[in-house]
Symmetry: C2
Subunit: 366 residues, 2 copies
């Protein structure tokens, strides 16, 4: 166990005061900002998330804003997903790739208007790639990081809590859509989305000054719902098959390897800088792919790549793993070669504490 | 106090095993990788660094490699420093700026050959900006992150220790130059450089497999020199005026504001994408600048921007601060407006624990 050192460089969020008052026990750093990882314990937080409602400081989902006449063109250059069908008011999960088809991020893009997008990023300085491309192609677009910090409300009672703060019309927001809702006289985008499969919303808090007032309002309104401070939960997100950029995939991987081929329209995504590179993999399919894996025995924290062996040869790697109380097995996410990716295949996983028997599963657990 | 959570995303380094065995107590995350911050205590580590020799895992100084016919052209596009005088075998501190003149990083560039550079980066994904620019301008160059992890040897006995491992000729390496030295049959670049003012070297360990063998060799060879595992020390680096990207400057700042105007040759750095934007600031000078500041009274950890007030108005911000045992004051780094930047000016600094009296100093302490 080791402490985390604080400095300005590892940025606090508009909700940090609330997170500290709630007794946060551990953090990670994500997009050079503090992301809580544990309040009571990972298992306690998990149980509570599945039964009640939690408020999550996910300000680390920084936004890259594209604004101007070339915003749409630039957005399409970034992703192999054909964006022509994405209308204002919609969110879209968009793999971002470089010219080799390697993934640079796997964000949710929010189309605010024809000439204005937010890219709600995973853990990489996507801003730099987007600025570099915009500069190199001399596009007529402003690219920057606005003062927008997402706050997630997740869990089976999330809708009930949101209704109390934003009113009944929040029920009409469909999955991966957003609406504009008033809070303290300001309009905030609220989407039905979030990094769990327990249901819920993400509020794009525009203006740091609104952070603690909104945090406090949610806790006041949710007292009888047993609302607690929470955070993306390692166990729940693995059970649900929610990938983590930097853990389960990096710029070494194509979207197809990550099971994201359905978000790649290589035939029609004209302008995407990685399109040429992805044409072949789209046609022939990847040689390795993300798979759910169950691991036997006791396992340590998955803080590094765990090589996977099949018949004595290296055939992949596990990159996220945790004990699941609900499914009574170690749930894991790994990248497995074609020769060993069929469900039911027995493999071995090399942890820092030794080799473990494991099995490729048919589907994720949730 | 809070723990740090480990995951693959927050990368281990080739030296992590040694760092753990040495009893690391705290980490920060830097370039999405673990950077130790405390072994015994910040004050104990500080005293030892000034008296003896330390081995630092600074693998977080990731390299961006430029290789190919356009490597030199691309390198000059990134920085307002005129690189024509930088010969192979030299290191150069190069502010990196975007098209607005805002700093994206403040790395040391290592010129390996006419067509090959390493940029040894501070805390931002500079790789993405460089790749984006190279792609947009369709340059004939390969840009990637090689398997190179710097290991620093710092402190007054650093040269003595390095001689024992690499031989007497290490003495001939001048400041900010590097030479190629053999270790276990492989050639490693060794520069006289490092993020302290106690003297020392940085070894660019090419090949993760060499990490622990080199770590162990240094500790065996330095036992009677009282060698210890260490890390960039908060107190020492503030005393020495060593700026930290993300703490003391961000992309909001020009190099001139950071006191780096002497590294900007805006008249002759033809091709730099930020040159136009910097011409005016180069001519007129900045309106705010980095200053050494001493603060009275007890101060908490500087984990956020501390506003500076002069005559009741906001005139800047402190971004790094620590108690200095040797100079018996709180040493600090801040950005101060022209109206209040003269040495001797009395100001007030607002910490999270309240207002403190402070003073703009003439020079840094070391």
């Amino acid at each position: 166990m080791a402490q985390i050192s604080f400095s300005r460089r590892v940025r606090r969020t508009p909700f940090s005061e609330g997170v500290e008052a709630a007794g946060v026990k551990a953090y990670t750093v994500y997009n050079r900002m503090l992301l809580p990882t544990v309040f009571e314990s990972v298992e306690y937080d998990y149980r509570h998330l599945k039964d009640h409602v939690q408020v999550w400081d996910v300000a680390v989902e920084r936004q890259v804003e594209l604004r101007g006449p070339d915003a749409g063109r630039l957005m399409q250059m970034l992703t192999p997903r054909d964006l022509r069908g994405v209308l204002p008011g919609r969110c879209a999960y968009v793999p971002i790739v470089d010219e080799t088809g390697g993934m640079l991020n796997d964000p949710v893009a929010v189309k605010l208007a024809e000439d204005r997008w937010w890219i709600s990023i995973a853990d990489s300085d996507l801003l730099f790639w987007v600025k570099g491309v915009a500069q190199g192609y001399r596009l007529d677009v402003l690219v920057d990081e606005p003062d927008v910090s997402p706050l997630a409300v997740q869990g089976p009672k999330a809708e009930e809590l949101m209704v109390r703060v934003f009113g009944d019309t929040i029920r009409d927001v469909r999955f991966f859509r957003f609406g504009m809702f008033e809070f303290e006289g300001r309009q905030l985008a609220v989407a039905r989305s979030g990094y769990s499969k327990q249901g819920g919303f993400e509020i794009y808090v525009e203006g740091s000054d609104l952070g603690m007032p909104l945090w406090n309002r949610l806790f006041e309104a949710g007292e009888d719902l047993q609302v607690r401070a929470g955070c993306p939960n390692l166990i729940e997100r693995i059970e649900s098959g929610l990938l983590s950029y930097g853990n389960d995939m990096t710029d070494d991987n194509t979207p197809h390897e990550c099971g994201l081929g359905r978000f790649c329209d290589t035939a029609t995504a004209i302008g995407c800088v990685g399109r040429d590179a992805l044409l072949r993999v789209a046609k022939e399919g990847p040689v390795q792919q993300i798979r759910p894996i169950s691991i036997e025995g006791e396992i340590p924290a998955c803080d590094r790549v765990w090589p996977i062996y099949g018949n004595g040869k290296r055939v992949g790697q596990v990159t996220s793993a945790a004990w699941s109380p609900d499914f009574e097995t170690n749930v894991a996410i790994g990248m497995v070669k074609m020769t060993h990716w069929d469900p039911g295949t027995t493999i071995e996983v090399e942890t820092q504490d030794g080799m473990r028997l494991a099995r490729v599963e048919e589907t994720f657990w949730n």
